[in-house]
Amino acid sequence: MLSLPLSELIGTIAAALLTLMVLSYLLGDNVLFRIAVHIFVGVAAGYAGATAWRGVLEPALIEPIRRGGLTAIFDPLTLIPVLLILMLLLKLSPATARAGGLPLALLVGVAAAVTVGGAISGTVLPQAWAAAESLSPTEVSPLTGETGLERTINVAIVLLGTLGTLFYFRFAARRSSGGVVGRPALGVVLASVGQVFLALTFGAMFAGAISASLVVLAERVQFVWGVVGGLLAAGTGAG
């Protein structure tokens, strides 16, 4: 342990202490936990800013001007981003925030278009195809090689889960002849099935989160124990 360079040794000890400070939250909210959280947030924000400057702003904005002089500013590939950046900075002041709407709208609009397009082609259509597979037992799944009743059941489950989930998020109701407003009986049943599928999905995600957290906890415990053991060994060896 003591054989490590001083910077790495200090970093290792600081990491162990910060780990213990975060784990102190098990005892309740305390100052050690808050200090650790503030340190993490500050370091993350500082590092993100530095990365944005070193990885984006400096090479893409400052370096072309430095290399090409002031004439480089009039390059459309430089001028337009600069103008958009300046307009976005105007949102810092409420008086000029309106001018920052253009670059913000550009960002949101482009991101939404990209996301929706990808969702349709990458999620909606494949899910529809998966729900529209044949229920014939003679069909063979090209991916898993399943066939017969097993595949039919799997396809039926996918279809039922898809319909049920869609019906669960269908909030429209119809007024019956008796004046009662409500979902159709079939819709209610399918919505209940969809609710079960949603619960299973969230349960699986929660189990996965617990699993991931336990792996992280195990890694942290091993790290802290390694540091403590190394320090103890170093102390014992030194003694």
């Binding site: 098990l26 993100a48 090479p59 893409a60 494949p126 996965g208 699993s211 890694e219």
Partner: protein, 696 residues
């Protein structure tokens, strides 16, 4: 110095003043009927000029050029008289009814003053009765009142009152008088005492204003609308009682103060005005009004016929009406409660300003308008139930509590988070004990127990070309490094084992560090050198848009964001020289711990990668989200790896045990403890639910 009180505002003005200094009203009324060009005490010059139309009217009158006869009026007045004296409206002028003739004194006896209605029956509504009576020539059987010779209480006037009429009036007055009420004559007397002297003082030598009996609307001030000569004739009609329930016949009216005639030439109206002390006509006490057959017009004036009189008697005999209890309960009491308390007249204040200055007992507008009033709703009549009482008590209690100073509560005893401590300690000990002790409580899965995804993953890994770089996208935060490095470590190890050149791309600011960390760790094992075996493309900002742009044109996207200056021009590297699109990479690996970002990359990369495989190494929490993309019929995701079991299996397949094995036992112990806690919590909640249901 004599002063004249303004009839309008009661302001005292000098006697010589013509108009009121307060309100500008005329103090000396222009008396009307021209008598030889002289109008009473007023000077001729004070009169307004006679309009032409009136001159023409005067000239049209036969024999009276420029001078209206005292006994005759204009044509319109004559027509009114004609209309007012039909046979059914009363006796003709000068005709005395038979009943009166019987009681009338002999012709040689001094004739008493005839009652006014006999000589001037009340005109129909809308017709100026006073004018008609004024214009009516005096009846030969009646003696006119000499102007300026009497006062209201003088016996000369009373001596002219028929005795029978006085008795009738006395009986009527006694009949109307109620116990505890002031006789009617009293208020009349008071009224005369107040009104007549003031009028006499204001106009000592002029015709006094006739005081209005109580209950009569005040007479509007004379308007300068018509010629002055016609004003006395066009005097407003006889005052109509506004509050009297029924009209009182003139014969039954209390004595009215005598008014002075403006001059001798003015038409004289024989007044049937009797004073209480006057003498009645002899023999009148024997007259029974009920037995007298009055003319129809007089019956009407009396207030109805015999039927109505009978009805009046029957109404007097009726018991006072009572309001039903339910109606009495609904009667809003407070709403109609008198706002202004009426004080005795002597205590009422005298108006000090305004057009009503000097008058006593003027209704004040302020109490009615400005002062607070009782609410319009009958709040006291609300049906109060027990619930209302309870709420009222609660409200009162709350108000009382707020009035008291709340005692300073002692420091609330802080409850210890025992449950949190128990759960935390259980999980922490479950993870720490195997880690510290190095116990192997959970056996390593055999190849038969490896996840089925591992086979597909390794199969895809086997198809990755080695002549071009594979892209590693680092899309997780340092907090997930403990899990992600355990899972992606075997993958990176396998890639380096296969000799596949690598290029890393970070979609998060800290991704570059994580990439350097994991590659530095495994490159030392495989002899990979930075810049040759692997390259760092740096941080790619922009989220989904940047991912889509990079997958479409990696080089342009990288250059547009500035690239990584420390790396130089990485695209000249042999492993990246042939890369123009994302499909030119040997494979794309997605290392992600975020569900949304992982799905975005899968959605964006699927259509652009063509045959280039997309492999995902994700956190265990993201795996349920990406699983459908792997299990679909045309999967955009060719392989997926997640979780420590997968990592452990992958290490076993690689033949190199690393992080996954070292964390397997702590992980297994912690999962066991977590499952036990979840099961215990579920059983506790179920037991509580059953316990709560049982009493119901």
């Amino acid at each position: 110095m004599d002063e004249i009180r303004c009839p309008m505002c009661s302001t005292l003005n000098p006697s010589e003043a013509d108009v009121c200094r307060q309100c500008g009203a005329r103090l000396k009324p222009v008396l009307g009927i021209p008598t030889g060009g002289k109008t009473g005490p007023l000077e001729a010059g004070d009169l307004p000029p006679v309009p032409d139309w009136l001159n023409r009217i005067r000239s049209d009158l036969p024999g009276e050029e420029g001078e209206a006869p005292a006994s005759e009026g204009p044509d319109w007045l004559g027509r009114m008289r004609e209309a007012a004296t039909p046979g059914d409206e009363g006796p003709p002028a000068g005709e005395v009814p038979e009943w009166l003739k019987e009681d009338a004194p002999a012709p040689d006896e001094p004739a008493p003053s005839a009652p006014a209605p006999r000589t001037a029956p009340p005109a129909p509504a809308g017709k100026p009765a006073a004018a008609s009576s004024t214009a009516e020539p005096p009846s030969p059987s009646l003696t006119p009142i000499e102007p300026g010779t009497s006062k209201p209480n003088e016996t000369s006037m009373a001596g002219e009152t028929p005795e029978w009429l006085s008795r009738i009036r006395d009986r009527e007055a006694k009949a109307r008088q109620r116990p505890g009420q002031e006789p009617e004559e009293d208020w009349l007397a008071r009224f005369r005492d107040e009104a007549i002297p003031s009028a006499a003082q204001a106009k000592p030598d002029k015709k006094e204003a006739r005081p209005e009996p109580p209950g009569v609307s005040p007479k509007p001030p004379p308007k300068e609308a018509g010629p002055a000569e016609l004003r006395p004739m066009a005097r407003p009609p006889a005052p109509v009682p506004s509050r009297a329930p029924e009209p009182i016949p003139a014969a039954l009216q209390p004595p009215i103060p005598e008014t002075e005639a403006p001059s001798q030439d003015l038409p004289k109206v024989p007044a049937l005005i009797l004073d209480s002390g006057g003498t009645a006509t002899p023999g009148a006490e024997d007259i029974d009004l009920e037995s007298i057959q009055l003319p129809e017009w007089m019956s009407d004036l009396k207030g109805g016929g015999p039927e109505e009189a009978a009805g009046e008697r029957s109404r007097r005999d009726l018991a006072p009406a009572t309001i039903p209890a339910w109606l009495e309960a609904m009667r809003p009491i407070d709403t109609f409660r008198s706002v202004v308390e009426i004080q005795p007249e002597e205590e009422q204040s005298v108006e000090a300003a305004g057009p009503l200055a000097g008058l006593r007992g003027v209704l004040l507008a302020e109490p009615v308008v400005a002062m607070p009033r009782a609410p319009g709703m009958d709040m006291g009549r609300v049906d109060v139930t027990d619930r209302h009482y309870a709420q009222a008590e609660l409200l009162q209690k709350m108000l009382e509590e707020e009035a008291h100073e709340a005692p300073v509560a002692p420091g609330q005893r802080r409850r210890l988070p025992l449950l949190r401590w128990v759960v935390g300690a259980a999980v922490l000990l479950a993870v720490a004990i195997p880690a510290v002790l190095g116990a192997t409580w959970f056996p390593v899965p055999s190849p038969e127990q490896w996840p089925p995804e591992l086979v597909g993953f390794r199969s895809v890994m086997g198809r990755i070309p080695t002549d071009r770089a594979s892209l590693l996208v680092f899309d997780y935060e340092p907090g997930y490094a403990g899990e992600m490095e355990a899972v992606l470590g075997p993958v990176v190890d396998d890639l380096m084992t296969r000799g596949i050149p690598l290029a890393t791309l970070a979609t998060r600011p800290a991704g570059r560090i994580l990439a350097e960390r994991i590659l530095a760790r495994y490159s030392s094992l495989h002899g990979f050198a930075a810049g040759e075996g692997f390259l760092h493309l740096g941080y790619l900002p922009g989220g989904a848009t940047a991912a889509q742009a990079f997958l479409a044109a990696p080089r342009q996207a990288w250059e547009s964001v500035g690239g990584a200056p420390s790396e130089g021009d990485v695209w000249v590297s042999p492993s990246l020289a042939s890369i123009q699109t994302a499909s030119d990479f040997g494979a794309v690996f997605l290392f992600s711990a975020g569900a949304e970002s992982a799905r975005t990359w899968v959605e964006q990369a699927g259509p652009l990668l063509d045959s280039t495989p997309l492999l995902a190494v994700v956190s265990a929490g993201v795996e349920p989200i990406l699983r459908p993309y792997y299990d679909s019929q045309a999967p955009p995701l060719d392989a997926i790896a997640s979780g420590l079991p997968m990592a452990l299996a992958y290490e076993g397949a690689n033949g190199r045990q690393a992080d996954a094995l070292s964390r397997w036992n702590p992980y297994g112990s912690g999962m066991l403890a977590a499952e036990a806690l979840l099961a215990g919590g579920t059983l506790y909640g179920l037991a509580g639910w059953l316990t709560r249901r049982r009493p119901a």
